[in-house]
């Protein structure tokens, strides 16, 4: 039982970290797009790539949590 609750805590922490990272990217991209709307599409592509990479790190952690449990 205790192990399960620790895993759940870890999963919560993973989600906090990943969403903080993606939120920061979103914020930066929004600001950049507002300042230079003409290169908005380029910024968007870069934003999605970086968000996907962070998401990848989060997924690694999720899978590890699932394996450890």
């Amino acid at each position: 039982m205790e192990q399960i609750s620790f895993t759940a805590l870890g999963l919560g922490l993973i989600i906090i970290g990943v969403s903080y990272g993606i939120g920061k990217i979103g914020q930066a991209a929004m600001e950049a797009m507002a300042r230079q709307p003409e290169i908005a599409s380029k910024i968007q592509t870069a934003m999605i790539i970086i968000a996907a990479l962070i998401e990848g790190a989060g997924l690694f952690a999720l899978v590890l949590a699932w394996l450890v449990n």
Partner: protein, 369 residues
């Protein structure tokens, strides 16, 4: 004010009328589903969800309890293909009778147990160890399961859309106004080629990889959307199956590494421009990076699609767990919202998979400036 703008974006008040009508139409389904439950003993949401996102040897179409209280299951049996001790056996999954019957193969018998086929003796005994995992051997199984059938269906859909379009291009050339299937194919193909592939891979090399990346994009997209259809020809969790995503990621991995340029391998094994101690640290990291990139690609698609299916199923399960009709409108409304989100995600994941694949290929083949 934000709400007003949302309405305007969504196509005016008409959209909301349609949306409400759709909710009303779905209500009776949820209500009747709730009624049946009175007789059932215990509803196991986790088991139901796992059953729905897993693979299966039959394609369930519907199951219900009729007026006399009999349980009726309508499902499409799919072929089971087993290779065991040099013997090939092909039969329909209905011969298992849902796991009650054994199917002989050579000296052994096959038994369907929790959606998996095991080898047993004549008594059909399934042995467990202490942690309740099955000890029986599994034969080499080449069956056309639900996921495989759904994948074949998406191949057929792709062929049905693309062959007429391609034929028209070869006959009329690319400069006539598009017609029929062409009108939907052309913007998608151009988007993938210009905004994804050519943006990441050097122009002179991009066209070599375009067929592969375009196929991956459309295959993932069609499978994602087929998985979202809740009734018969769809509903299989194909792109949320780890072996499916593993195969696609393996293609990317192989293609990236066989087309890698000298620079690419130098960056991995020599890491130019760094002092030796850093090199010793970086080379293993870079080497592991070769494998983690496609691994993350595999997990991302798998986790996103499976999570989407789980959310929708959990929202529907709320009705059955709480055993009231009152939550039905809420849960139907929420699951429709999640469906809209998942429709977006199915595009986004196909886009991201293709984008990252072309990014990795681009890293491997591009000239360094």
């Amino acid at each position: 004010m934000i709400f007003d703008r949302c309405i305007k974006l969504a196509g005016g008040k008409r959209f909301f009328k349609h949306f409400l009508a759709m909710c009303c139409l779905l209500m009776p389904v949820a209500l009747s589903a709730g009624e049946n439950l009175e007789e059932e003993s215990e509803f196991d949401a986790a088991a139901m969800i796992m059953h729905h996102i897993g693979d299966s040897y039959e394609y369930s179409i519907l199951s219900f309890t009729n007026g006399r209280g009999e349980k009726i299951k309508v499902s499409l049996p799919l072929p089971v293909i087993i290779w065991h001790k040099g013997q090939l056996k092909v039969f329909m999954s209905s011969s298992f009778k849902g796991g009650d019957e054994l199917v002989p193969i050579g000296d052994d018998y096959l038994r369907l147990y929790h959606e998996k086929v095991y080898l047993t003796d004549a008594s059909g005994a399934i042995n467990h160890d202490e942690s309740q995992s099955v000890l029986n051997a599994q034969p080499i199984n080449l069956s056309i399961t639900k996921n495989v059938a759904s994948m074949m269906l998406s191949c057929l859909i792709m062929l049905a859309i693309f062959i007429p379009a391609a034929r028209r291009y070869s006959r009329k050339g690319a400069l006539v106004a598009p017609k029929g299937a062409q009108s939907i194919v052309e913007p998608i193909v151009l988007f993938v080629r210009d905004d994804i592939i050519r943006a990441q891979i050097d122009k002179d090399k991009a066209d070599k990889f375009t067929p592969f990346l375009l196929t991956i994009f459309l295959f993932i997209l069609i499978n994602n959307i087929l998985g979202l259809i809740p009734f018969f020809p769809g509903g299989a969790n194909t792109s949320g199956n780890i072996s499916f995503t593993l195969t696609l990621a393996a293609f990317t991995f192989i293609l990236t590494n066989i087309s890698g340029s000298k620079h690419y391998w130098k960056d991995v094994f020599v890491v130019p421009g760094t002092p030796l101690p850093i090199k010793l640290m970086l080379v293993p990291i870079e080497f592991i990076g070769l494998f983690t990139k496609p691994f993350a690609l595999m997990l991302r698609l798998f986790a996103n699609i499976t999570a989407g299916h789980i959310i929708v199923l959990s929202l529907v399960s709320i009705i059955f767990v709480m055993k009231t009709i009152i939550v039905a409108p809420v849960s139907v409304f929420l699951s429709i919202m999640i469906y809209c989100l998942e429709f977006l995600v199915s595009f986004l994941q196909a886009y991201i998979f293709t984008l990252l694949s072309s990014l990795f290929i681009g890293l491997a083949v591009n000239e360094h400036h």
